[in-house]
Amino acid sequence: MIQDFITIIQDYWLLLLIGQYPNGPLGGLANTLILSALAIAFAFPVSILMALARLSKWWFLRWPMTALVYVTRGVPLLMLILWCYFVIPLWTGADVPSFLIMLVTLVIYQGAFLSEVVRAGIVSLGQGQMDAARALGHGYMSAMRFVILPQALYNMIPSMISTFVSTIKDTTLGYVINVPDLTFAASQVNNQLLTQPFQVFLILAVVYYILCWSLTFVANSVERRIARRRAGPRNARLPAEAAPLKTITEQL
């Protein structure tokens, strides 16, 4: 049994790691990592813009964005992927690579979810912080940047981590539109071996688990460092303040 795993890894590690590259497109774990990282990197700023649009006093920003967020949150990700897969080439008239379609879909989908968290974070601060910033002469954007968002985003860290972890998991759905990622590579391996699906997909599961777990770990330690810095040099309050955040993140 153990021998099976070792043999599979020995025979197919390069395929699992980088797909067909350099003879074909980059795939495997490398592509999964790139896709996840890009999706997270874009979804984060997009979610802030979406949240600001939803809180805007201008209806022409607020209404369409509210509709987009509701639709996106109310539809299975798989539907969204298929829509984008068929609709984007129709609109653009170009042959858009499936990787790009998957990236756009993930950014919209995770951006919509994250924007609700950002919005809640901003609203929960109350009017007082904005009033104080305005009274000191900050404009809206300046108040957002220096007063509101630093606090809202800090309070959001646990939710952000969980969204990022689910982004990594969601990249697996790229399989249905043939994005050459780790899942795609694993199913290629499985097609060649035919007799060992359990072993192949267990390896796959372990790799995803390690990925998600290490992201949670890194994010947790970043969070702790911020909490310590914010509590100041004489941080009598640190344990009490840091504890609730930590419990939430550990449930992921």
């Binding site: 007082g128 009033d131 104080a132 009274a135 000191l136 002469g137 300046s142 606090q151 509590a231």
Partner: protein
């Protein structure tokens, strides 16, 4: 002070003219007319819900008004204007809130130096030194590197005053700065306000501290149900208030 104002400097720091404000059908401010002279300390008092907070928040346009105008150093702050212009005017009006509203993610000294750096473009080291001086002035030099969450209410409010002063405003507004404080902390905040008044700061304060009003104010505005019913020097106001509702208000305070 600014030298760029081309108009002749008005004698009044603040002039409130025919200000009306509604929340839906409910009229909170009814035709308010009043003035604050340069260097004057005015205390606004009146029963709860009479519109004191609303009035003082219209002075730096944290609240909009329905009609009338409020001029600050000769400029109508409620005139249509660009956002940047309004921000510039606001930055010259200090505001102290009942609930302090310090920025909890910044240290005390950062709370005080942030806006001079980000709004006025003061060099960070200059703003930092200035902030330390202001903190020393409100008796909190040793708390510069603490965070707001580590301070008592009275200390937080003194930081809030230092933060407002850091923008070097010619006028300071206070909205019940001591109402959220435990009784033993009221004194430390009032004494900072007294020293400001003694230095000639123009101040408009909503407060229930009648001792402060008596000792420090040049004039009292009594407001009830959205109207200024009486304006008088404190000795006159406390000894023989003219308006029946002012008489009742003072009688209620004493009991």
């Amino acid at each position: 002070m600014s030298t760029s104002v081309s108009e002749p400097q008005a004698a009044q720091a603040i002039r409130i003219a025919d200000v009306c404000k509604n929340y839906g059908d409910y009229q909170v401010l009814k035709n308010i007319n009043a003035e604050v002279a340069r260097g004057e300390v005015v205390v606004i008092c009146g029963p709860s819900g009479s519109g004191k907070s609303t009035l003082i928040r219209t002075v730096n346009r944290l609240e909009e008004i329905n009609s009338g105008g409020i001029s600050f150093e000769g400029q109508n702050i409620h005139a249509p204007m660009r956002g940047s212009e309004l921000n510039k005017l606001r930055s010259r009006i200090g505001f102290v809130f009942q609930s302090f509203n310090l920025f909890p993610h910044l240290s005390v000294v950062e709370n005080v130096s942030m806006s001079p750096i980000r709004v006025k473009g003061v060099a960070p080291d200059v703003a930092h030194d200035k902030a330390l001086k202001l903190l020393d002035r409100v008796g909190l030099a040793d708390k510069a590197n603490s965070y707001p969450g580590q301070l008592s209410g009275g200390q937080q409010q003194r930081v809030a005053i230092a933060r407002a002063l850091a923008m070097e405003p010619p006028v300071m507004l206070f909205d019940e700065p001591t109402s959220a404080l435990d009784p033993e902390m009221v004194g430390e905040v009032l004494s900072v306000m007294k020293s400001l008044a003694a230095e000639g700061m123009t101040m408009l304060c909503v407060t229930h501290e009648m001792g402060f009003a008596r000792d420090v104010a040049d004039r009292i505005w009594f407001i009830d149900a959205g109207e200024i019913l009486e304006t008088a020097p404190p000795e006159e106001f406390f000894k023989n208030p003219r308006h029946p509702r002012a008489q009742r208000f003072l009688a209620d305070l004493r009991h």
